[in-house]
Amino acid sequence: MPETVSAPRTEAIVTAAPRRKLSFALLRRPGFTIPAVVVLLFLVISVVPAPFASLFGNGDPRECDLMYSGMPPSSGHPFGFDVQGCDLYANVIYGARPSITIAILVTFSTMLIAIVLGLLSGFYGGWFDNVLGRITDVFYGFPFMVAAIVILTAIGVRNILTVCVTLAIFSWPTQTRVMRSNVMSVKHMEYVRAARALGASNGRLMRKHILPNAVQPVIVLSSLSVGGIIAGEAGLTYLGVGLQAPAISWGLQLNTAQNYFNSHPHLLIFPSLFLCVTVLAFVILGDTVRDILDPKVRK
């Protein structure tokens, strides 16, 4: 049937324009810049905590005096003291490191696993896809908390690495599924067929044509789940199966605080405030990235 020839060209112009401006679009949004600054700040704090901790003159989290146990905020000690009589501010600052480390390790390892497995299973299909599909089903069936506690109890060693592994075990299935379904839909696109017809190898097809076009939703999902990972670590630690003393972490501080919350509420307030602000920054960041990348929500 007759059709005007110039239509596709118009579409190309319309869709090409916003993509180029994405980075500017991000920077212009307060929903991006504010949480990004907060995240960056916590990142710096977790790499070099010392200068931040000594802002008020008492920067050593392990310099404790039981005489001050549970004392409320005072000059030089803006957050007061914990039950061991250590400066709470210094402890809260040092507590950022495990949370941020775990968040980064789990997010990136999960993303990597999801991208590789999702790519292979979506591209090749067949028995690999079937087996992987059933395995993700099995992981979906687990009650997360119960399973995580059992695993951490079974491993017996509780440090950043084991907590990371446990969190990652339950994070990869969701993302792998998303990646797989993206790969499946991209696989049938005209440009992939065209590349195949031109003789591109499977490896090249996956790397050059499918991956860049299927990876975006996984990135969005990852950025949305960072907050949940931080909260998950704090929850496990809080229950006593995550990080263990003498490590310094917000979860541990809250774990101790639960026994004293009535007499020393500041023990609960300051670590949870830092925890909430960090999670909040990641959640808002993820939301903004999704809003910009996902045109359906953007409209």
Binding site: M1, T4, A7, T10, E11
Partner: protein, 329 residues
Amino acid sequence: MSEALLTIEGLNVSFGGRDQPKIRAVRDVSFTVGRGECVVVLGESGSGKSVTAQSILGLHDPRSTSIEADRLELDGEDLRSSDLNRVRGSRIAMVFQDALSALNPVHRVGQQIAESLRVHRGLSKRQAEERAVELMRAMQIPDPEQRARNYPHQLSGGMRQRIMIAMALALEPELLIADEPTTALDVTVQLQILELLRTMCRERGMSLLMITHDVGVAAEMADRIVVMYAGKVVEVGSVREILKQPKHPYTRGLLGSVPRTDLTSLPTPIPGGLPDPRRIPEGCVFAPRCELAEARCFSEQPEMQHGATGRELACHLERVDGSDGGRDE
């Protein structure tokens, strides 16, 4: 020409709110649809023809759209001040391009036809559904009792479009607006649907405003053709005038880009693409793509010329009543 049923004068539609750049999708569009007449609005995608059609019934989100017009009247009644819900469906009905997405996926098609009858005519559920089956039969849908109980996804594309038409005709409207009603269909089904639309209009004395990018469809259906480009009307005339003696360079380009089955001439595409709606050229909207454009085409907007036979043309280079195709120099 017969008395005007629908009158549009100086219609401007723009999108975008506070933080987005304003997009003027339709600018200063005027045309009429007479009683029993079929007017086809012809133009490529992005020319503002669908926006024009939808703004007649106020279907755009009022928060992000501003619609201004000197006149927007149905049979002398101002559409902007009347209760649109009494006009929609009952006096002006609409058929959309993609029936699969335009029909509600979770309701049976019979129910969807019956809904208008219940809301506007106050029929009981049973009466309305019986009437729906009758309408489906009138649309030549085989086994309508059965089909009425189907969901949209269970029907073929042509069948769904017949359901859409049955739904639109349920209240015997005076004007039917069909927005690319056959674009999503196979060629053979297209012809059947066009035939059905034409029969229905003739039998019921209904006016038809049809939106299409397809010159073939326009030739098949139109009494008059309104050619739109980049949100503006560039040429209006009877189907004969437009197809035999196109005057606007864009109309000529449009006709020239139609592949002919007899292969006497290869289609010539119009070079370039539609202008960015946020940066509309200052002069004639078509000038950047026009082979004949002169200096003033880029600086001055051409006035609409009104010809003797009701023909209209917006071009610096052509006279509306000038001789066939000759350039006025």
